[in-house]
Amino acid sequence: MADKEAALKNLEKIKADALAVLEDIANQESLEAWRVSHLGRSSPVMGVFSSMGTLDKDLRPLMGKAANEVRQALETAFEEKRQLMEAQALKKALETEQLDVTLPGRPIAHGRLHPLTQVLRRITRIFGDMGFQVYPSPEVETDDYNFTYLNMPPYHPARDMWDTFYTKTEGVLLRTHTSPGQIRVMRDRAPEPIRAILPGATMRYEQLSARSEIEFAQVEVLVIGENVTFAELKGTLEDFARRLFGEDARTRLRPSHFPFTEPSAEMDVGCFVCGGEGCPVCKETGWLEILGCGMVHPVVLEYGGYDPEKFSGFAAGMGIDRSTLMRYRIDDIRHFRNNDIRFLRQF
């Protein structure tokens, strides 16, 4: 019996000693060392198990149970201590680990669409919603398509409106506007009705400066049908302007002259720089000219293969560079084709 008492007492001591040591442990290494020395293979409690064979057979179950209880108690204490220490460590970490969130992020190498592509896409999307389809057309054109079929026979005064680059091939020029595409679509589609937009590069003979370019992008809009009205031209372009420039955009149509439309008009939109108060961008008028338009001229319909007695239509043409320039208050139109990366990256 004394053996039993001594053995149980020894177990108690093992437990008490171990817990006392555990209590004071303050770091991971000591905790791990504690686990090895108090729960490891050569720990006192494990020693009890391995010396079990020397005990009386009767005592074995009792001692086994007691030793197991001690071991479990130590394991539980260890686990609690470990969790406590982890919680403390996390708490400390959360308290001490602080980033300077104002430091810049890692730069990601990105690209963007060219600003003109972005604006063009907005325009084509708006017209796309109204059932217009995009048609490509050539940039190097014949004099006939660029002028004659658009009701500007040779020496027509209106030819002066466009300063033209001619090529060394007789009758071939760099198109001065996207309007020759009108004839191409008409000849392709006649006698079906048409709702088309034709985007593309155009070229005009100008001296290059901050305000004038020799190459620029345009979009042509064309509707042909059996009873297309000026009222529809107005409604369609007003819807377009509101969608491009915002719900509150004010517009007005002003008489103008293009040989290939009659009546001809120019559409102004309330200046989005000054809100109509007057500023240098709108030349103090509060209005910005955004497009030219009109009812397709009978001569043009005829050249396109439509009987002007039966068909009518409207057309509009708009410069992308200029309206983008105004929209973003860009100081120099040449930025678009110089492709200065510091400019392009801002869009």
């Binding site: 995009v134 079906e192 709702r195 000026f230 008028t285 492709n339």
Partner: protein
């Protein structure tokens, strides 16, 4: 055209419209007002103005019509005078240095006081002594011991013209004491006249539009006067050789005229309209041209008499002889050709018809008799001459756009009347009028229904007739039908359907675009076209942007020399045809580009020092002339350019590496994958623009669609670029987009676990990774889902000329979990085939 609005008031009553409202009316009928220059008149009330205003106003209490009663010498200065002036309220002594007052100095009280424009103390006006137009305010000061605080004004100081040699001497009837603004305050509208509205390049023309738009009455100029001289008959003759080129020629004659300055109000109007006053004869022709739109020409009749010898001066209009010479009154000698129309007499050419007079028969200070020409010319012929001789004038501006022959006769009569009023003399009775080709003024018939169907309006036939009537069309209404006869001052109205369109424009413009309703498209949707190419191009751009590339749009215009820079200096550039520009702005941009790679290299060069990393692309056409075809082929191309750092440097340190060939290839592969193009191959290749060892041609199947690689160091040296190597690709777009597919197979996501294993093989340097991969796939069969190269190693222990390639292999079966046995079977087959086909050994 510059329109002084006091002049406009002669023809239409606009007193109820302020400047702002008037400008708006004009703009909304197509006479766009670009600027309003105040020359005395006050700024319209209201805070918001829709027009740009310049100039300044003359407050009624500051600027006054005054009279100078005596001009006295200055006690201390020869070049200054003291004027005893009365401004209607009090007498003041005003100091001035105006040379045109010297002649009155010391003459005592003047018999006829001089009427002047007087600015009181505190007036703000332009500084006459400074260049340009700078406002200054009159302050009290002493000049050479005499107090000065007010001023007698010059034209420059009031903003009428740039003249400030002398002060303005007003016409005698100017009422002393009247506020100057009430006497001659004005505003000048700068009006942009549309090319089809040359009829409105005149004060009367603009008045007509305003009258029509506002429903007011148009007051025609009074052309009634008495011709008191002997008959013109027998004094001159006209011979027209080609009525097609010269439909009408009218002559009038005035003799005994006094060459003198025109009345001040005339000179002021001409100045404001932008024409320099010369003398009463020249001024009268210019005045009537501005008033009516009919350019006129005055010949010195005595010179013509002399040239005619003993005969009657005979005006002959005909085309020049090739090589004939004429010196116009601007002193320029022109070499003429047989298409150019001339006004001549029996002694030779007098003037370039409708464009400019010749030097010889010009009116001069000794002129006493004037033979006045009013004619009409073929506008296309005038245009050709103008463009060939690069000459321009106010007359040419109008005649090259078409002036109605009816105006020739009216113009001559009005001008004779004004010459007589301003220079005296006797106007010969009658005119000589040769009118071989009167135009037929078109009659257009249109129905109100047609008008409303086209405009989307409901305008009555009567209202349509009224609108056209206000523009002086003669209209008849019968039921729905309006018949309109074109008035004899416009040439741009046609007949038939075009005439109807012409009138539709007139009706809508005067009716008011703002009154036409807005309507959504009420048309059947046209048949939808399939155009996959455009969608694919948009898709491709998005793809490249997502791969980190910036889009460019480059100039199409370049030069062969610029494009030759894409080759090494010793390379023999092939002789290629360009679309060449006949009239380039510079030799640097005299042809349409053939190479999109050139554009890319130029833009890389431009940006080289501006960014440490550049990754760019462009999609656009290049232009290739095609034999036997009028228009060139516009071939769509894609270019990619990359140079500099792989990553942008950041504060986290670490040396970022330069981009290399494989960065470019990664982009190209990413693009091919995104376009779902199968069967893309890359083959080592050579290209003059690229590094011979770092170039690949890109193939889809056997179709070569482009090239990519490191730009040849010698090519790079042609451009001013930073040190880092430059990588570029040039790919034809059409095959790329044709091979791309919007319908493609999607592989099932594996549901059974995969087996991963690494395999390193030692091969000869000549064996490519692609070859090893191909063999692996052959051996691995369907179960080998993926092969990925992850390491390349070269070392002595591998033996000279060998390399080790390490791959990660992924095995997977769609329908079951692979067993070890299944995997090892494939692995063994791979190893066997690698050895057999490529001599590859497993790396131990």
């Amino acid at each position: 055209m510059k329109l002084p609005i006091t002049w406009l008031k002669d023809y239409v009553d606009i007193d109820d419209l302020d400047l702002e409202a008037l400008a708006k009316v004009m703009t909304m009928v197509g006479l766009e007002v670009e600027e309003i220059r105040l020359v005395g008149l006050p700024m319209p009330s209201g805070e918001k103005h829709e027009f740009k205003y310049t100039g300044f106003s003359w407050p009624k209490d500051k600027f006054i019509v005054a009279q100078v009663d005596e001009v006295m010498p200055h006690p201390n200065a020869d070049r200054l005078v003291l004027c005893r002036l009365h401004d209607g309220e009090e007498e003041i002594i005003v100091l001035t240095g105006a040379p045109n007052l010297y002649e009155y100095k010391g003459k005592g009280a003047l018999e006829k006081p001089l009427k002047v424009a007087y600015a009181r103390e505190g007036s703000t006006l332009y500084d006459g002594h400074q260049p340009g137009r700078k406002l200054t305010t009159l302050k009290r000061m002493k000049i050479r011991g005499v107090e000065s605080f007010s001023m007698i004004c010059s034209e420059k100081e009031l903003g009428i013209s740039d003249a400030h040699e002398g002060v303005i001497i007003l016409d005698e009837d100017a009422p002393t004491g009247m506020p100057l603004v009430d006497y001659m305050g004005d505003a000048v509208f700068d009006v942009d006249t549309l090319p089809n509205m040359v009829r409105d390049a005149s004060v009367l023309g603009m008045a007509r539009e305003i009258a029509a738009a506002t429903g007011k009455e148009l007051k025609h100029p009074n052309d009634v006067f008495e011709m008191t001289g002997p008959s013109i008959e027998g004094k001159a003759a006209i011979e027209i050789k080609d009525p097609e080129l010269n439909p009408r020629f009218v002559l009038g004659l005035i003799d005994g005229i006094q060459i003198q300055p025109s009345p001040y109000w005339v000179r002021r109007r001409l100045n404001l309209a932008g024409m320099r006053p010369i003398n009463c004869i020249v001024d009268a022709t210019n005045y009537v041209m501005l008033e009516l739109g009919e350019p006129l020409h005055a010949f010195d009749y005595d010179i013509l008499l002399e040239r005619a010898g003993s005969g009657t001066p005979t005006i002959i209009t005909l085309t020049a002889k090739d090589g004939e010479k004429l010196t116009t009154l601007d002193g320029v000698e022109h070499a003429l050709d047989s298409e150019m129309e001339l006004v001549t007499d029996t002694a030779g050419p007098l003037s370039l018809a409708g464009i400019m007079g010749g030097e010889e028969s010009e009116v001069n200070s000794n002129t006493k008799s004037v033979l006045l020409e009013g004619a009409s010319w073929n506008f296309i012929n005038i245009r050709k001459t103008v463009s060939k001789l690069k000459i321009n004038s106010e007359a040419a501006y109008r005649f090259s756009r078409g002036v109605h022959p009816a105006l020739a006769e009216l113009g001559v009569r009005l001008c004779l009347k004004r010459m007589h009023e301003w220079g005296g003399g006797r106007v010969a009775k009658g005119l000589i009028d040769n009118y071989p080709a009167p135009p037929e003024d078109p009659v257009v018939e249109l129905s109100a229904t047609w008008v409303n169907n086209n405009l989307g309006t409901a305008i009555s036939p009567q209202e349509i007739a009224e609108i056209l009537g206000s523009l002086e069309f003669e209209c008849k209404v019968e039921g729905d039908i309006i018949t309109a006869k074109t008035p004899p001052h416009r040439l741009e109205i046609h007949t038939g359907i075009i005439g109807r369109a012409d009138l539709l424009e007139e009706i809508s413009r005067i009716y008011g675009f703002d009154k036409i309703p807005s309507q959504r498209l009420n048309q059947p949707l046209p048949p939808q076209q399939v155009n996959p190419y455009l969608g694919m191009e948009e898709n491709l751009k998005d793809l490249l942007v997502n791969l980190g590339l910036q889009e460019l749009i480059a100039y199409r215009m370049t030069s062969p020399e610029r494009e030759a820079r894409r080759f090494p200096p010793d390379f023999e550039v092939p002789d290629q045809q360009y679309v060449e520009i006949q009239n380039p702005i510079t030799v640097e941009r005299r042809a349409m580009r053939r190479s999109i790679l050139s554009s890319m290299l130029e833009i890389l060069e431009y940006n080289s020092s501006l960014s440490q990393r550049l990754a760019l692309f462009e999609i656009g056409p290049v232009f290739h002339p095609v034999e036997g075809q009028q228009l060139p082929e516009e071939r769509m191309m894609l270019s990619i350019g990359m140079t500099g750092l792989r990553e942008m440097p950041s504060w986290q340190g670490g040396e970022p590496e330069n981009l290399d060939f494989y960065d470019l290839k990664g982009v190209v592969e990413g693009m091919m994958q995104g376009l779902h193009i199968a069967g893309v191959r890359y083959q080592a290749s050579e290209h003059p623009s690229f590094h011979p060892g770092k170039t690949a041609k890109i193939l889809i199947g056997d179709w070569e669609i482009g090239v990519m690689g490191e730009v040849h160091p010698l090519v790079k040296a042609n451009y001013e670029m930073e040190e880092a190597p430059v990588y570029a690709a040039e790919i034809e777009l059409k095959p790329l987009l044709e091979a791309g597919s919007i319908l493609f197979d999607v592989e099932a996501v594996p549901t059974y676990p995969f087996v991963l294993e690494d395999l390193a093989v030692v091969v000869n340097e000549s064996v490519t990774a692609a070859e090893v991969e191909a063999v692996m796939h052959k051996g691995g069969g369907d179960y080998l889902a993926k092969v990925q190269l992850f390491d390349i190693y070269r070392g002595k222990q591998l033996g000279e000329g060998n390399k080790s390639l390490a791959f990660s292999l992924t095995y997977n079966a769609p329908d079951h979990t692979l067993t070890d046995k299944e995997v090892s079977k494939r692995r063994n087959k791979i190893i066997h085939l690698l050895d057999e086909e490529l001599g590859a050994k497993l790396r131990s």
